[in-house]
């Protein structure tokens, strides 16, 4: 049978997902760094790279289609390929959030921050850890690690609430700061949404391994 | 490359020629016999030959009408005995090939095929002629019929065995009992082949002379009852051939020609039946 070629295709598919995940993570991290360093040029670069990540998404989708058509996969293989479809969509959205953060950086331009960045970089750090762990869980087909990773979404939600709280205080105190404070809120929201996408990915990983599809961490 | 090809081609042509020659060689005796028969016999074939009884010894004229009908009658009688037994026996052999009865029957049939035909005549003599105290068409029919049995049985067995197992399975799966399957599905499928086998066997016994010598015995007049002696072409040919009369010699040739014609016609019919045989893929 052509199982050998199929195995190779599956491996390459998985590698493609990991690569795309790493790039999405890098894009988010780069965007947060650009915010910290107030580097508009870096933000521009990240916006431009979004196209490349979209291209990766298309490529992975097409590979999935081809495998579905030619191999008629069943059972575990079927779950994997169907899940890769969904995972690449989540990764693409995460890259869009990186782009969103970069646009906020551009809009803030050289204006002073309303407060020193503490929570946002922390959110990014946790998020990067989640992405690394999720990709590892995907490669290792480790459902437990996926569940644990999804659980970290709570920490990110808490941090986002803190940012909201802080920004509200600042905005009430001084209405002039509203546009700038809003931008930071937007950034925090992008990070929180990105973490939700990682949670989705973890659900998919659990499905690949166990065949159970359920909401993690609602 | 070219020389090897040419050598191969000439070798091919050479061998084809050899095969052709061998075929011609095989057909030659048949052709010669037919030609000789036609040449010597055709002149005596006339309307009288087919309608008149044999004339008195020495007198020209007369015919072999009774011998022709006699041969046909004997074939009919032999068929009545040999065909049912042969077909049913052959069917049994193919449906239950491994039983003790089958193995014994098959062996017996093969032995019977090898028994000299005159011995078959003896058998009928003892069985029918002696108790009845005279020769009869019945005895001749029995002798020929018994010779039919092994041949028909074996060919029937072969043909029925050729019916694909899938046909039987289809019938059985419908809830048709085994015996009905054999009778109403398998046998009809094999009919053309069975008929061919029968015809070939009949053609063979049409020309048998030895078994008729002391069973049918021959008759110069029309046969009125199967318990009476009956004329037959082979017997008549024999009687005329050893006679001193030229006219009878010519009639003997004509008789031989008619006999061969009967055999040819039956074989042709058998071929026709085969060509209409259902294609059993």
């Amino acid at each position: 049978m052509t199982r050998g070629a199929f195995e190779r295709d599956l491996r390459q598919l998985n590698e493609g997902v990991v690569r795309m995940g790493e790039r999405a993570g890098e894009a988010i991290h780069g965007a947060v760094e650009a915010l910290r360093a107030r580097d508009v040029a870096a933000a521009e670069r990240i916006i431009a790279e979004d196209d490349a990540i979209d291209a990766l998404h298309m490529d992975l989708e097409q590979r999935c289609m081809r495998l579905l058509a030619t191999q008629q996969p069943m059972a575990g293989d079927l779950r994997t390929i169907a899940s890769v479809f969904a995972i690449t969509i989540d990764l693409e959205r995460m890259a869009d959030h990186a782009e969103g953060i970069s646009r906020a950086v551009k809009r803030l331009a050289a204006e002073p921050l309303v407060k020193p960045l503490v929570d946002i970089p922390q959110m990014d750090e946790i998020l990067q850890g989640m992405i690394r762990d999720a990709l590892m869980a995907f490669q290792m087909e480790n459902a437990d690690l996926a569940r644990q990773t999804a659980a970290q979404d709570d920490a990110i939600d808490r941090l986002r609430n803190r940012v909201l709280h802080d920004m509200l205080e600042i905005m009430i105190h001084d209405p002039q700061t509203v546009p700038r404070a809003l931008e930071l809120l937007i950034v925090a929201r992008h990070l929180e949404r990105a973490a939700d996408h990682v949670t989705n990915i973890c659900e998919r990983i659990v499905y690949i391994v166990t065949g159970e599809l359920r909401e993690l961490n609602v | 490359m070219d020389t090897r090809y040419r050598w191969r081609r000439s070798m091919d042509q050479g061998m084809t020629l050899v095969c052709l020659l061998c075929t011609v060689l095989v057909l030659t005796p048949l052709a010669l016999v037919l030609a000789f028969l036609a040449q010597t016999g055709l002149s005596a074939l006339n309307w009288d030959f087919f309608t008149k009884l044999p004339g008195a010894a020495g007198e020209p004229g007369g015919g072999m009408a009774n011998a022709i009908t006699g041969t046909l009658t004997l074939i009919g009688l032999a068929g009545c005995l040999g065909i049912p037994i042969g077909v049913l026996g052959g069917t049994f052999l193919s449906e239950y090939p491994q039983t003790q009865v089958s193995r014994i029957s098959r062996f017996a049939a093969d032995v019977m095929n090898g028994i000299p035909s005159i011995v078959m005549g003896l058998f009928a003599y003892v069985l029918i002629v002696l108790p009845l105290r005279h020769f009869s068409a019945l005895a001749g029919g029995v002798a020929l019929g018994v010779m039919l049995i092994p041949t028909v049985m074996r060919t029937t067995e072969e043909v029925v065995r050729l019916v694909p197992q899938s046909v039987r399975e289809a019938a059985l799966a419908l809830g048709i009992p085994q015996w009905k399957t054999t009778l109403r599905v398998v046998l009809p499928t094999a009919t053309a082949g069975i008929v061919t086998g029968i015809m070939v066997a009949l053609a063979r016994i049409a020309g048998e002379t030895a078994p008729l010598l002391f069973t049918a015995f021959g008759n110069r007049f029309w046969n009125r009852s199967i318990l009476q002696p009956i004329a037959a072409l082979p017997l008549q040919i024999f009687a005329y051939a050893i006679s001193p009369f030229d006219d009878w010699h010519r009639q003997a040739w004509a008789g031989a020609l008619v006999l061969v014609a009967i055999v040819l016609v039956v074989n042709t019919l058998a071929r026709y039946a085969t060509s209409r045989q259902v294609r059993l893929r």
């Binding site: 059972a75 079927l78 | 046909v167 289809a170 419908l174 809830g175 294609r279 059993l280």
Partner: protein
């Protein structure tokens, strides 16, 4: 009495119990060809009016299993069967049971279409009924038309019922065989790789037909084609080396098989 058939909901994996009567129940069914132990203790329930697929690699015993259900296995000399097989609660191997009558209740269609060569289309379909004793011409006409309609063949052959059965195409011949089997009104129809000798279009028609027929009678289909089993059946059984490895809802088995051997087989790692 209705058996609880567990059907897994693939998304939530909550088992939903579907009430289904059992059409065929086997209990510790063993079968031998002389010394060869072809079936080892098969216990399963074929649900009524559904399509049950039997899959497995060559030589795993799937055809043997099928033939035990209509007592065709015993036609092979030196074949033996032990265990219980119940068709609608009646043990078909009980002493005194006539195998001929069993075969009228449990019909079979074979891999290679096998219409009776000497009969025309009408006679082929009517054969089972006629040879069981039916003589009334009107009744026979009725049965022939009903069966040909059920086999989705009526429209194509209604004007040439007197033509030989072998004059049809492969796919049509197979549908003719199905019509012939249906004519005796079986409760269960066994199909032994019915489409493997046919082209893809004819194959799909047979599959559609199987699903359609399952509305009225129980269908058990043996196939070596995984995708066919997935398309056609509600319930699937996986056989390996004479044993039943897994038996359950088709969707469940093909998205999330329980046994590793099943997973390996359906993903093509062997067989």
């Amino acid at each position: 009495m209705p058996k609880q058939l567990e059907v897994r909901n693939v998304e939530t994996h909550a088992p939903t119990l579907v009430e289904r009567n059992t059409a065929v129940q086997t209990d510790d069914l063993h079968a031998w060809f002389d010394r060869l132990h072809a079936l080892r203790g098969i216990t399963l329930s074929v649900p009524e009016r559904q399509v049950t697929a039997i899959i497995g690699p060559s030589g795993c015993g799937k055809s043997t299993f099928l033939r035990c259900l209509n007592r065709m296995h015993e036609l092979v000399p030196s074949a033996r069967v032990s265990g219980v097989v119940r068709v609608h609660e009646r043990d078909i191997y009980a002493p005194g049971v006539d195998p001929v009558l069993v075969r009228r209740r449990v019909g079979m269609v074979f891999q290679k279409p096998n219409p009776f060569p000497t009969m025309n289309i009408y006679d082929n379909v009517a054969a089972g009924v006629r040879l069981a004793g039916e003589r009334d011409r009107r009744r026979l006409d009725e049965v022939v038309e009903r069966s040909l309609r059920a086999a989705a063949l009526w429209e194509e052959v209604k004007d040439r019922l007197h033509k030989p059965g072998t004059s049809l195409s492969g796919g049509q011949q197979q549908r003719l065989c199905i019509a012939r089997a249906l004519a005796v009104s079986p409760e269960v129809l066994l199909m032994d790789e019915p489409a493997s000798a046919l082209d893809p279009a004819a194959t799909l028609r047979i599959e559609e037909l199987a699903r359609e027929l399952a509305k009225e009678i129980t269908i058990v289909i043996v196939t070596h084609n995984m995708q066919q089993a997935a398309r056609v059946s509600d319930v699937t059984g996986f056989f390996l080396a004479g044993q039943l490895v897994e038996f359950g809802s088709t969707t469940g088995m093909f998205t999330r098989p329980i046994d590793k051997r099943t997973e390996d087989y359906i993903t093509g790692r062997f067989g």
